[in-house]
């Protein structure tokens, strides 16, 4: 009897696994087929192409630029959001008058679709009639209008800032869950021992929050790496591809230029990159925990 038992877990997991496989593996297989084929403008296969599409992507100078920017974009938003969310979550965890309202305000941007947020920012960043310029002018911070979206030097940092803004609510939610899981006894004990707030943070709060930080880093990296709407709605990756990240470049390649073979190759590479990062991070994080 004991021997047949292990079948049950697999049987129970099977339906979920099949569904996930259908949703994830089938498109992956399709992408694999398209990326090694000669494909016409409309996605119809026209023969085997080997690795030609992959070589074409690798030798495109715009690809290297977009790859580099994707790293800056992902790193900037994930750690920017982390740096903002941690103190915000700690404040919201404290008991103060109006905490409920404050929590709602922090969470509110989450309820708005990212595309809408990005479009509102596009209006706000308009050089002549944007809210940002007129606000800064009223505060006497600037004299002449800044054309925020005209060049990458101003557009890309602003896009990262919008990215941080929309990532904060989700991250705060994870952290609030984490903070409420830390037992109050620990803090009480620390206070009795005469621990300073900084020591309490370093020795208790932060170590116990590690798993939650790890979750936030992995999930946010996955979302942000593939995040399309902010950049597309504000600059479409322009001017001259200078704010393109891989996913906007992928869209142009596939649906503007009709190079669906190369686009499929690129999306498989992006998938591999993201998978490799996630595995590496989870491995490092779990090793740390064991130590």
């Amino acid at each position: 009897m004991q021997r047949t038992a292990p079948l049950a877990p697999y049987a129970l997991v099977m339906p979920g696994f099949l569904l996930a496989a259908f949703i994830v593996l089938w498109p992956l297989y399709q992408l694999g087929v398209i990326s090694t084929s000669e494909v016409n403008r409309f996605g119809q296969l026209r023969g085997f192409a080997g690795l030609e599409n992959y070589v074409a992507v690798f030798t495109d100078p715009d690809f290297i630029g977009a790859l580099w920017r994707t790293l800056i974009w992902t790193f900037g938003i994930v750690f920017g959001a982390l740096a903002v969310s941690f103190p915000v979550a700690m404040i919201l965890h404290e008991d103060f008058y109006g905490r409920g309202v404050a929590r709602v305000i922090v969470m509110l941007p989450w309820a708005v679709s990212i595309t809408m947020t990005a479009i509102v920012w596009r209006w706000a960043l308009n050089g002549e009639s944007g809210m940002l310029n007129s606000g800064l002018k009223n505060l006497n911070i600037i004299d002449t209008n800044i054309q925020w979206l005209a060049q990458a030097a101003t557009a890309f940092p602003v896009q990262i800032m919008i990215g941080i803004l929309v990532t904060v609510p989700f991250t705060v939610t994870i952290f609030l869950g984490g903070l409420s899981s830390i037992s109050g006894d620990l803090y009480e004990a620390a206070r009795l021992e005469g621990s300073s707030p900084l020591q309490t943070f370093r020795k208790i709060t932060f170590p116990l929050m590690r798993p939650f930080v790890n979750i936030a880093v992995v999930l946010n990296t996955i979302y942000v790496f593939n995040s399309f709407p902010i950049i597309w709605a504000t600059t479409q990756g322009g001017p001259a591809n200078s704010t393109d990240i891989l996913v906007t470049y992928l869209y142009k390649l596939g649906f503007r230029f009709g190079k669906l073979g190369e686009a499929s190759a690129l999306s498989l590479m992006m998938f591999a990159l993201l998978l490799a990062f996630t595995i590496l991070y989870v491995y490092l994080a779990s090793r740390e925990v064991r130590e």
Binding site: F42, G127, L149, P239, R256, G258, L260
Partner: protein
């Protein structure tokens, strides 16, 4: 017992419905959303068509312009495309060479052909076969703000690019938030905004030897003209942050002296800024008197894999009657593609439209090249680099031309 009867009735009803559904011929039509009026117009046309053809069931799919090509690509690759679709005529070559668009000549007679202006029908003709019918047509001309020109002491709109280069800084000098020449530097048609000057200087997008014309004197001169306008502060600042709509908005606000765009700005001004005193004139000429206006048509095509070609054709025949064409053209602010529509008072007596139609003999269309969108993309990128001052004119255009030549070679 009662319940049983009810059930039986329901079953009969369901059966009856299935049979009517089976006998109805369905027709799917993908249309581009030009404005808020597009969807309702086609729904109305479909309804009227269904009344005349009780067997037909017409489904209209309204798709925003920006994602139209993406939707068509996805639909076609999945074999789930509609029977009819509006496309940009510049994409037609790709549809024809892959055997996706069906030739329409077998359905057309001389009478039907006679409904169109030849200049608009001809871009849809390839290898002697007609693959699309022009559903929307537009040309470009220069809009100018009469008040601003007057204040700057300029009598009459500039006729050449040299005159424009002289007039624009004077208008810009009128105020901090006033720009002489509104320049588009972002998103769709950034390249086209450059062709206006490029053609005036005698350029050809594709030279006779089949290579790109960007790396010619005309290309350098046109880019030089634009770049000096930017450097002289004669355009709005930060041109690479402005797409066509952004520049049009500045014009409507009375902050731009001159800009080049399509007839639909007239209808927008009539609705949103009726007090604006403006005029429409030809795009400035080059040193040799060359003028280039851009003609654009969108075509409606029939898919080769459509199961209901006869019905699809009847629908085309229906929406290309004068009554429906007039309604569409007036609502959207396009140029009439049909002589009968053009002769109607609403169009014949419209001064703005007259300026546009007068330009048509000079009009050039996007060249018929597979991969045109990519060439447009490369050109726009090169121009943005130049406008931003991140690249010298000649080497940047030479590099873009080299890239384009590789596509043209294929």
């Amino acid at each position: 017992m009662k319940r049983f009867t009810l059930g039986a009735t329901g079953l009969t009803l369901a059966l009856a419905m299935t049979t009517t559904l089976a006998s109805a011929q369905s027709l799917r039509v993908t249309v581009a959303e030009y404005s808020a009026k597009t969807g309702p117009y086609f729904e109305e046309a479909a309804e009227a068509f269904e009344q005349a053809n009780p067997d037909a069931d017409v489904q209209i799919e309204v798709v925003p312009w920006d994602v139209l090509l993406q939707k068509l690509t996805t639909d076609i690759s999945g074999g789930a495309n509609a029977d009819l679709s509006i496309i940009g005529t510049r994409w037609l070559i790709d549809f024809v060479s892959e055997g996706i668009a069906a030739p329409l000549d077998e359905y057309m007679d001389e009478d039907f052909r006679g409904r169109f202006f030849d200049v608009f029908l001809s871009p849809s003709v390839m290898d002697g076969q007609t693959y699309g019918l022009p559903v929307a047509a537009s040309a470009r001309a220069m809009y100018y703000n009469k008040d601003l020109l007057e204040q700057a002491g300029i009598d009459g709109p500039p006729q050449t690019w040299d005159e424009l280069a002289e007039a624009a800084p004077k208008i810009s000098a009128l105020g901090d938030d006033i720009a002489g020449f509104g320049m588009q530097g972002k998103e769709i048609e950034t390249d086209v905004y450059f062709y206006y000057a490029f053609w005036a200087y005698g350029g050809d997008l594709v030279e006779e030897d089949g290579t790109s014309g960007l790396d010619t004197e005309a290309g350098y001169q046109a880019a030089e003209t634009y770049k000096s306008l930017i450097d002289a502060g004669a355009t709005q600042p930060g041109v690479t942050a402005y797409n066509r709509e952004d520049v049009q908005n500045l014009f409507k606000q009375g902050k731009v002296g001159m800009m080049i765009t399509a007839p639909f700005l007239s209808s927008q001004i009539a609705e949103e800024a009726p007090d604006l005193d403006y005029g429409v004139t030809a795009i400035p000429a080059g040193p040799d008197g060359d003028r280039g206006t851009y003609g654009v048509t969108d075509s409606i095509i029939m898919f080769e894999n459509s199961q209901n070609k006869e019905l699809a054709w009847e629908f085309l025949d229906f929406i290309f009657t004068t009554e429906w064409r007039a309604k569409f053209t007036e609502g959207e602010g396009f140029l009439p593609v049909n002589p009968e529509v053009a002769a109607m008072p609403a169009f014949a007596d419209n001064a703005d439209l007259k300026e546009f139609t007068a330009l048509l003999p000079d009009a050039r269309f996007a060249p018929v090249i597979a991969g045109w969108e990519e060439i447009a993309g490369i050109t726009s990128d090169a121009l943005q680099t130049i406008y931003l001052g991140e690249g010298e004119i000649q080497p940047t255009l030479d590099a873009a031309a080299a890239e384009i030549n590789e596509i043209l070679d294929q």
